[in-house]
Amino acid sequence: MSQEPTTDVATPPPAVLALRHAAKTFGPVVALADGTIELRSGEIHALVGENGAGKSTLVKILAGLYHPDAGEFTVDGQPVAFRTVADSKAAGISVIYQEPTLFPDLTVAENIFIGRQPKGRSRLISRTRMRAEARALFERLGVPIDPDRIAEGLSIADQQIIEIAKAISLEAKVLVMDEPTAALSGVEVDRLFAVARGLRDRGAGILFISHRFDEIFALTDRITVMRDGRYIGTHDTASVTTPVIVREMVGRDIDQLFPKVEAEIGDRVLTVSGLSSAGVFSDIDFDVRSGEIVALAGLVGAGRTEVARAVFGIDGYDSGSVELLGRALRPRDPQAAIDAGIGFVPEDRRKQGLVMDLSVARNATLTLRNSLARFGLINGGRERAAAVEWTKRLQVKTGSQEYAVSTLSGGNQQKVVLAKWLATEPKLLIVDEPTRGIDVGTKAEVHRLLSDLAGRGIAILMISSELPEVLGMADRVLVMHEGRITARLDRADATPEAVMHAATATREHTE
């Protein structure tokens, strides 16, 4: 991207959209504490923040999907309170999500005009007019897409162009793009940016959410930073630098940390070399030793979970090898990985880690069902005994072993998942976002538990998007960006800035 830097307007026009001090909580979880954004007509405005900073919540408020609990919201100076998506659209706000949601069975033209198809003289929908209008939109955008083809199978880039065409035909005053470039190639990004600049020059206000600083500095006029659900500040892009923005994104009190207790680092347990999977990740080299916690840091979509899944044998890979205690693991064979001594605690425990309707005891012993069974039938008494042992050790708070797991809190559910794997006495434990959606108190407990396990000589590979967790828990930090490891940091060198820089690939770190 080699565009000339954008110049700021001398007298700022009034805000087309302003959200001030918006708050949104879900039960005990505060998703947004102080959501503030002010968007002018004719500007491209970046919204940046770490994962979990509240950007998505803010976007959903703008889109009319969430209703803020508090705060002021005005469009063109008029206070608004959207009850539905339709209200937001009517006010002239169009949102383009990272993965556009088109109707796969409908044609491109119909996807643009659904719900407001042009009508002919017979008061029925006129396909001819719809097609012509769609074609005119694409001509204006300089993108040749056949309006008559069905949307199924379109590339993400084309789907986004269709969303933009829709926004234009709605005469949207505000266009919100949520990480639009995450899945695009270089050419496609250039095309999208050209379209975005064209819209800005015609007076639209564009809110651009991205993790890529090069793009932000090439495209935007102003930058707003959010952190931990709060508004931090707004800068003119021309008069600010990346380090300032990064510091604002990460600079937080680091008092919720549970530092890892020193453990004796032993032999190499996991060795991953040259692991590549086309289009997903490439040249992944690392090892994990016993007693060590290695964190895989990076932004959502950097390929961390995919690496873990390949190591555990859920997904295949194209080249490279995975060795556990010096013995090669067969690819695409999770049972072999379990037998060799790997435990895998997935990111989404409700969907992948637990059977929500089964009892605590049954869940905690799922991985043991072969050793607990006699003649193929599970012995209930032995099952309970095994479950009690582990749930007690991990201090799972449940009324009874027989309660369904779905009745437990998030933190206690996570402990049951851990119990399930600890019962297999693993050598290596892979934990993916171990404390996502868990309240602060239980978070510390999960951290204590992981630290404790490392102390017993288990090697732990932890995927985490939360910087304090990474910095507090990990002996070593591997940072991934777009499928590659961009930094390897020892505990002493792992500062928030270093990790963020590598995660956004503004600077290359390699040993």
């Binding site: 069975d105 929908i125 001509e139 379109l154 050209a194």
Partner: protein
């Protein structure tokens, strides 16, 4: 901001994709229609049977074919509406039974009641039963398969309780009512013409109105439909209610066409109806297909039964052949969509 075609400096990085070719594209378009395989199968079936047994297409034979298909066509159209929204209504056989018995009961117990009033009451009764389905599906957020399986039994239970051992016969009904299924215009029975009218009207609504297109959008991706601000609940409710109206109409016509109505009238029809829609190219997971296709599917399934009888094929084979047709319809659909996907991927690869 419609006339300012300025300042989009985007040089198109990709070559223009396949423009629709002027000549020959119409034929290709017909061949690609989802309704095409089932229509072709119907034509082949009729021709083969006619060649083997010319009586098959005699005026009387044709009339029987059409009469047999009429009720199934109306039910198929209603079912297609519901399936296109990624739902299903298994209770239509029971709705038809209740309305058919109600029709017999009205004529028997209210002497001199106008036929038009009976139609109105039958349609309204169907609408209520369909609306109950729609309410349960949209409010309970439980799959329609389960909800309508429940109402299938509930409505049938009501029918049993109401009818007991009672049956009403054609002699209780005015001659003019029965004549609807006997009299013809240009060889077409009156009730068949009514069914054709239903197909045409619903097809126009589905293709030419925004609410009709919304049903396709909902079936194609219900979550996206919500994001778009389409009133998903209201549209699905209306689809079920209209399906109820059509099942009610089918119930009234059933009483005109057949001699007796009782507690078991219409039992088991629901699966034939779903089969007709699927064979007719209505995707079982919603989003594509048409009511015309469903109507042709209904015609095909009822014609097979008659054709196999005309060809003196054993009854057992008739059911097996219907089963094969359903599988064939699904396989054709899958193959077509895989081929489309491959074609699209290839054109994309060329672009890059």
């Amino acid at each position: 901001m419609t006339d300012t075609v300025t300042s989009t400096p985007t040089p198109a990085p990709t070559p223009p994709p396949t423009k629709s070719r002027p000549g020959g594209s119409r034929l290709a378009g017909v061949l690609r229609l989802r309704e095409f395989p089932v229509a072709l199968a119907l034509i082949v079936l009729v021709l083969v049977t006619y060649a083997a047994n010319p009586l098959f297409l005699s005026p009387q034979g044709t009339k029987d074919l059409l009469l047999n298909a009429t009720i199934m066509i109306i039910l198929g159209v209603g079912q297609a509406l519901v399936i296109i929204t990624r739902n299903v209504d298994l209770s239509v056989g029971s709705i038809l039974g209740l309305v058919a018995f109600g029709t017999g009961s009205l004529f028997a117990n209210v002497p001199g009641i106008p036929i038009i009033a009976v139609f109105a009451i039958g349609l309204a009764f169907g609408a209520i039963l369909g609306a109950i389905n729609g309410l349960l599906v949209t409010l309970a957020r439980v799959p329609a398969l389960v909800i309508t399986l429940g109402t299938l039994y509930i409505y049938r239970g009501l029918n049993n309780a109401w009818a007991g051992g009672t049956q009403y016969f054609a002699d209780d009904r005015p001659d003019a009512f029965g004549a609807l299924s006997v009299d013809t215009i240009l060889g077409f029975p009156l009730i068949t013409l009514l069914a054709v009218l239903v197909v045409v009207v619903v097809a126009i609504v589905m293709a030419g109105t925004r609410s009709g297109r919304d049903l396709y959008a909902i079936g194609s991706d219900p979550d996206a439909a919500k994001l778009f601000g389409i009133p998903v609940g209201r549209r699905v409710f209306i689809a079920f209610a209209v399906n109820g109206v059509l099942a009610g109409l089918a119930g009234v016509l059933y009483a005109s066409r057949f001699n007796s109505v009782g507690a078991t009238t219409g039992t088991g029809l629901e699966l034939d109806v779903v089969a007709a829609a699927v064979v007719g190219g209505v995707a079982i997971f919603g989003g594509s297909g048409s009511v015309v296709g469903a109507a042709i599917g209904a015609l095909l399934l009822t014609t097979i039964t008659s054709a196999l009888t005309a060809l003196r094929v054993d009854k057992f084979w008739q059911q097996a052949i219907v089963g094969v047709l359903i599988l064939a319809a699904i396989i054709i659909d899958r193959v077509a969509s895989i081929r489309t996907a491959r074609r699209l991927r290839l054109s994309e690869a060329r672009d890059v």
